[in-house]
């Protein structure tokens, strides 16, 4: 009987504590800076083009092969009369969010800090009706950072 009363005492003491639950879809927990949702590409505001040069480093390092990268000559390069210092630039980029295992390796191998992990709730809430919709193309990958909604944390 003593043990039962002790158990009830624990249960009763919890009434005096603050609740830890949240009404999730309405209220979101603040996410830490290092939070990793899905990878996205970053936008170079100074030159008005992506940081990514399409060097395939992330594609080769990806454990689950969820990326497809195509490179092209940069039409805005100095030799073409532009202002950019990037000789090559990303042409097409697909990431299959359905395959991605969010291991952060692509961010670590990138030489240009051109890819980062989304650390906002928009990055986590990716539900779609069709798996094919999880495959993101270049405009979709660039959109959030271009609009300034995301500031990914990249390990120094």
């Amino acid at each position: 009987m003593r043990g039962l009363l002790k158990s009830m005492g624990v249960t009763l003491s919890v009434f005096a504590r603050k609740p830890v639950t949240r009404q999730y879809p309405e209220t979101h927990r603040p996410l830490p800076e290092r939070d990793r949702a899905f990878p996205l590409l970053l936008w170079d505001e100074n030159l008005d083009e992506p940081f990514c040069t399409g060097c395939h480093a992330c594609e080769r390092a990806c454990p689950v092969e969820c990326m497809t990268v195509l490179m092209k000559d940069n039409p805005a390069h100095r030799s073409q009369g532009g202002t950019s210092t990037r000789r090559k630039i990303i042409d097409k980029f697909w990431i299959d969010y359905g395959r991605c295992m969010r291991c952060n390796i692509c961010v670590e191998v990138c030489n240009f800090d051109a890819i980062g992990m989304n650390n906002t709730w928009q990055g986590h809430e990716q539900s779609v009706y069709d798996r094919a919709d999880l495959i993101q193309d270049l405009p979709q990958l660039l959109a959030e950072h271009k609009a300034g909604d995301v500031k990914p944390w990249i390990a120094p």
């Binding site: 043990g3 039962l4 390092a61 454990p63 291991c103 390796i105 390990a155």
Partner: protein, 376 residues
């Protein structure tokens, strides 16, 4: 062990074969056991595993050493840091890498915190199995979430951390690490007290668990049980003490053992182990100094000389071993995971035969299996 098809009734009866699982809330994943029951008494158990098999060992052989870390998380999804630790320590031993002191202390802290979160998960799920429906489960999840929040702040992910690297850590811990660990420990101590008060002396809980699923020390050793299942039978085998890795030889902690080897002892051993983990973390925090978290010279693509190694560490569920063969190059030629859950699960038949059907769930819960680790 009772022989099948023996009857002591006046009239002819037949044993009933019933399926438990794979879709059963108390099988902790997808695990099927066929119970041969005579009335309420279990006469035989045939376990079926393999529903979660994903070929993780073979997949890791196609990946280089950094890519493989993410797969270790997915084999042992309740003690990811411990699983990663075995893998990276095996790679370090093969490649003869020196790990900086700070990285080792942080690894120890994270592994012990992971042990706490895993044991919280056990106490909650086990409470549900034993009939304390809901209360224990939500209380322990509340405490576990505090620890997972800390892991998320450090590594960026709630569950699949991929934070350890051969040679050290992926990146340094945040600046407020010490304050956050102190906060987490404070709430954890309260959590352990809660779970202890809720279950340990509870008469209903004791009636469900004491002298149920008993296994002797000799049998537990024969089946290859490790971890709390073995220690509950009274064998003080803890790899942190018997063959210290990291800096476990420099900290002070007790190896907790039980006496009867029943379900209740397995619970008590785990609760006491949580207190010891808190002790270890507090000592580690005192010894943590600023410094590098990766060796100075680390090649861009890690390659190991040819060789083979078996390396084991004490995960929350027992001995988590990695057998790795390297033929040179940047990936393992063969990788084998010695799963503690698989070995512990083998003892299930011995423990369950002769008990009641309702106790089969409690006994399975007391083994604290992770089916992803059993099937890999």
């Amino acid at each position: 062990m009772t022989a099948p098809f023996t009857h002591e009734h006046e009239f002819e009866t037949q044993d009933l074969m019933i399926n438990m699982g794979p879709q059963h809330p108390s099988t902790h994943g997808v695990f099927r056991m066929v119970l041969q029951i005579d009335g309420e008494v279990v006469r035989d158990v045939i376990p079926y595993i393999g529903y979660m098999h994903r070929g993780g060992e073979k997949l890791a052989e196609t990946m280089d050493f950094r890519q493989g870390i993410g797969w270790m998380d997915r084999t042992e999804y309740l003690a990811q840091h411990n699983a990663e630790l075995s893998y990276v320590m095996a790679v370090e031993a093969l490649a003869e890498l020196e790990v900086p002191e700070r990285a080792q202390w942080i690894r120890m802290i994270l592994c012990e915190l992971n042990r706490l979160s895993s044991h919280f998960m056990f106490t909650g799920a086990f409470g549900t199995d034993a009939g304390v429906f809901g209360t224990a489960f939500v209380y322990s999840f509340r405490e576990r979430e505090v620890i997972l929040d800390l892991f998320e702040e450090i590594s960026g992910d709630r569950l699949m951390y991929a934070y350890f690297r051969p040679g050290g850590l992926a990146w340094d811990v945040p600046a407020n690490f010490e304050r956050r660990v102190a906060e987490v420990l404070k709430s954890t101590k309260q959590g352990i007290k809660d779970m202890d008060g809720l279950l340990t002396e509870n008469e209903i809980f004791r009636a469900r668990t004491v002298d149920v699923g008993t296994i002797s020390a000799a049998d537990a050793i024969d089946w290859g049980c490790t971890g709390p299942v073995l220690r509950a039978s009274g064998v003080p085998l803890d790899l942190r003490r018997t063959e210290p890795y990291l800096y476990y030889d420099q900290v002070d902690f007790d190896v907790v053992t039980g006496t009867n080897g029943d379900v209740y002892d397995r619970f008590v051993v785990r609760v006491e182990e949580m207190r010891q983990s808190v002790r270890i973390i507090e000592q580690c925090m005192e010894r943590l100094r600023p410094g590098p978290f990766l060796p100075d010279r680390l090649p861009r693509m890690l390659r190991t000389p040819p060789g083979e190694i078996y390396l084991r560490t004490e995960a929350p569920r027992g001995e988590y071993g990695i057998y790795m063969v390297s033929r040179g190059g940047n990936r393992p030629y063969r990788l084998k995971i010695r799963s503690s859950c698989f070995a512990n699960l083998q003892a299930l038949r011995d423990m369950t035969i002769g008990s009641y059907v309702a106790d089969a769930v409690v006994i399975l819960g007391s083994l604290d299996i992770v089916l992803c680790e059993v099937d890999r």
